[in-house]
Symmetry: C2
Subunit: 186 residues, 2 copies
């Protein structure tokens, strides 16, 4: 048995996806399989057992990011929030705080932008965007408020992509501002 004796296949897979995510964010899709494998603590051969080829790895990575973003949004809705706009509020919290945190499902946009060079990922992202569109529309907010708030949330999480360095303070204020917009209704 190799040097990863104590790790289950699922854990190995997760470690590979994690390493790939960080490397893609740093270097884009041209990050080599060898580098990904090394950072995940497996050999290239080991990596290619779990993901048949680079294309598969990228696709799985995109699916993983999109799914974990969705999960994070749902988790960011307080159980007692039953008012219209609850999903939007979760979306805002995760997007804006994501520009702040240095972990978890942050920077989704940067990674997706990089992965968008892979055709199959574009299709996946498009389908996911449509689903968000539907879900958010059904969230009970006036159309204009929704469009404004979602665009601003997206913008906040996009800023690190092109050099923006919003301070925690600015992000906090933006988040509260956006949340307030969803509560007054109009």
């Amino acid at each position: 048995m190799g040097r990863t004796a104590g790790r289950s296949p699922e854990q190995t897979r997760a470690a590979i996806l994690d390493a790939a995510g960080r490397l893609v964010r740093e270097r884009g899709v041209s990050a080599s399989l060898d580098d990904v494998a090394r950072r995940a603590g497996v050999s290239k051969g080991g990596l290619l057992y779990h993901f048949a080829n680079k294309h598969d790895l990228h696709l799985a990575l995109a699916a993983d990011w999109l799914e974990s973003f969705r999960t994070a949004v749902l988790a960011a809705i307080p159980p007692d929030d039953d008012a219209p706009g609850r999903l939007t509020r979760g979306y805002v919290r995760v997007s804006v705080d994501g520009a702040l945190d240095a972990t978890a499902s942050r920077d989704a946009l940067v990674v997706i932008a990089h992965l968008s060079s892979v055709d199959a990922v574009v299709d996946l992202a498009r389908a996911d965007a449509r689903r968000w569109n539907e879900d958010l529309r059904a969230d009970g907010l006036p159309e204009d408020v929704l469009a404004l708030v979602v665009a601003a949330a997206d913008g906040a999480s996009a800023q690190p992509a092109w050099g923006g360095e919003p301070t925690p303070d600015e992000l906090t204020r933006l988040r509260e501002q956006l949340l307030a917009l969803t509560i007054l209704g109009d």
Copy 2:
């Protein structure tokens, strides 16, 4: 003389940057020099005369995009607009319409996101973002309005990056909404 007899060096350079921009947007920085050269109608050797190496090409591309975005924003300010928020309004017009148009300085964020795998580009983008930050702060709008409007504009131009397909109608409404926010003052 080669097959590009009628083209000046400046035009060749511009053609290369244009081709590189489109290819980077489609495939990321892993688009090969050979492909860029072919699309620009020059040979790889010809390309490497104008840009010493791939790194230089990417840096020049980023500088070009950032500059043409700035130019577009300034051009989008009507000469008779003298009220506070004029720069912000230009920023909004270019960012939101950029998500709509299929030409010019659109999709800046996608390209910058891709290029962000190049360290020198990150520095450049950061310096540019700081400059925008200063300029926009000096634009005379209340801080909260500014943060909200700029984030939303960024978000609009970011959406195509990860699968979002805003309709022209939605974008137009968002743009008018944002412009209105900058006029009422608070």
